[in-house]
Symmetry: C2
Subunit: 379 residues, 2 copies
């Protein structure tokens, strides 16, 4: 059964209240938000129109009171379907003044300092020249948001977890059908295309992310687009997906041997699953991201250069903490993360496995269907 | 027959040479580029991994000599498959220094001033705090890129036009199959999902953008996600897509009457097509974007508040000029644009039609299969 689409207004009000309490503690009068995940988190404004770079979108979150949306007129009807009442629009794109005066006015009504997410994983989605104009026009002080938005987003509500679980279930069903699309001889590009089709058939709203690779000794990386090279017997095929249901991502992968598996593939896969289980054992409230990294890295016998072995997940494919030796973020119940161990199989060739979990007061709950130690063979 | 994937190295060298000649004229020592379309335009680096916000990516384009890629190590293998030789990596995400020192060093080798795209439609895809650190660490002057990158991208090569034509042909075939998926009674959300499936079946690499709406008097906007409301006899259904083939978008829509059409729907559709034809007549080198807007707006009897009636298209769903009363951009052969007239059908309800064309020395060439004046009926 599908969870409900959208959230109750109370969920948004709780998110705003949490941010506002931190803003008051940090002495910030307002937050200025400009990116899709930031706006959606506080308003529920969900559209694929962000694909167009032509227009900036702004949300002003005051330390007290309701948010103010300052947006292109083309978004007014959709924003009016959310819980946001104060919606101010202009006819974007406007070459003379693309919302800057309207935004400055909204900010001046509230005052400063204005917090803007400025740290790792953030960016400002408006033209730099307009940001400078905004500073001059408003006369306000602008500073970092002190990580407030990222901090709020890191701990998910039960409703959010339900949506991520739904995305994971959809991808799990698509992976279960992989033997329909990946026999030997089929081009990898065709497999990618058909895998997206399976994800849609199984209920994904859309498929923002698919990656993967194939080869007898693993694959070169986990970010390349598919080539037209055909799958061969003896290849290991990896597919990784961020499919979306109601705006929430899954992010996990699966490996499949094509026709038959090799001893190295089987051993590598078993080791990756072993690392996942070590991660599951360690994933408790109070543990740090670097602690999870350590137990997995020990199983894999890898060092810091192996990169991150997992990350936060939710409104974005990756968000929040990184499972690295450096990251001392403390796990809390409600955090949704990936466990993503990887191993070098041969020079320049790797295998990677990934699962999605939610931290609870006890053992973590699996959101993706946990893979077993035996590498599946298809085709 | 499909065009070839990728571009010859000469195409990238020509793009760089064009930018460098403008940089020299403007007195810029380097450009700093941070976004997906900017990096891909000059390097060919094509991956869906940009969906993850965790890591910044940098390309430094000096006024003379070859570009320097300063990127996370996870991208090294893929970047090495492009024509770029100078690839410098760090183990991102690094909480201590996420590429800033490495980037500052690369820029200092070249000197300033450094142009950063800062105008309409651009943003800086790196944390603001790291940009400030970069300014301090490099000691260089940073300024706007004078629109150089946008200017280069606006005029497409024949190879680029071939890829956009391929995307348009794919979407055209998917639209031709719409009667398979949109009978009365099917939920709009199901139609959206199945339309994405059709696009993939017809050859799209992926489907970054789908929008649409339905109703007896048109739809509320062109950006909302699909609801679960079922299509009804007498609705007009609009679907709009940005499907991608080898990194290039189409962006056109189609309207269909469900079961039967109404007189208002038919008349509105005919008027929209009439406006498209007026746009086609006016779309000649030397005409300005505002001239195209004017001839279409006259047919539609709309004023400036109607918003833009088309835009540039290519590596992004929307890029470059806007067909508005303000935009005085002069059309040149090789520009790919959309003609996108819209009309209000009833209070808060609209109909929109869109085609994709390329400006040539003579009459524009249609890239999307030009719709006729009669509103098609399906279901």
């Amino acid at each position: 059964m599908n969870p409900t689409r959208g959230f109750a207004e109370g969920e948004y009000r709780a998110r705003v209240a949490r941010a506002q309490s931190k803003m008051q503690a940090e002495g910030l009068a307002a937050l200025l938000l400009t990116t899709e995940p930031e706006l959606r988190y506080f308003t529920g404004f969900l559209t694929r129109f962000w694909e167009s770079p032509s227009r900036p979108w702004f949300l002003v979150l005051p330390a007290q009171g309701d948010p103010v949306a300052v947006i292109p007129a083309i978004g007014a009807a959709l924003m009016a379907t959310t819980w946001i009442d104060d919606i101010r629009t202009w006819a974007a794109p406007d070459l003379r003044d693309d919302g800057v005066s309207l935004l400055a006015e909204a900010l001046c009504d509230i005052g400063g300092p204005v917090g803007v997410p400025s740290h790792m994983e953030t960016h400002l989605r408006m033209p730099l020249a307009d940001f400078e104009r905004l500073k001059r026009a408003s006369g306000l002080g602008f500073t970092d948001d002190r990580g407030i938005v990222a901090g709020c987003r890191a701990v998910k509500s039960e409703a959010e977890i339900g949506k991520i679980a739904q995305s994971c279930a959809i991808a799990g069903r698509a992976f279960a059908r992989l033997d329909e699309i990946a026999p030997p001889g089929v081009a990898l590009s065709r497999v990618f295309r058909d895998f997206q089709r399976l994800l849609l058939e199984e209920g994904a709203d859309w498929v923002p992310y698919v990656a993967g690779g194939a080869g007898p000794e693993g694959y070169a990386d986990v970010i390349s687009p598919a080539s037209d090279a055909p799958l061969a017997v003896g290849d290991v095929l990896m597919l990784d997906t961020g499919a979306v249901w109601d705006g929430y991502f899954c992010d996990f992968d699966r490996n499949f041997a094509i026709g038959r598996s090799t001893a190295v593939q089987r051993a590598t896969h078993a080791r990756l699953i072993e690392a996942v289980h070590a991660g599951l054992e360690a994933a408790r409230p109070g543990a740090r991201a670097c602690d999870l990294w350590r137990v997995m890295a020990d199983i894999l016998s890898v060092g810091e250069s192996a990169g991150r072995l997992g990350h936060g997940l939710g409104i974005q494919l990756t968000e929040g903490l990184s499972l690295t030796a450096q990251d001392r973020t403390v796990l809390r119940a409600g955090m949704v993360i990936t466990l993503e161990p990887g191993l070098v199989v041969a020079p320049g060739r790797i295998m990677v496995h990934e699962e999605n979990i939610v931290i609870t007061e006890g053992a973590p709950r699996l959101l993706s269907p946990l893979a077993g130690p035996h590498l599946p063979v298809i085709g």
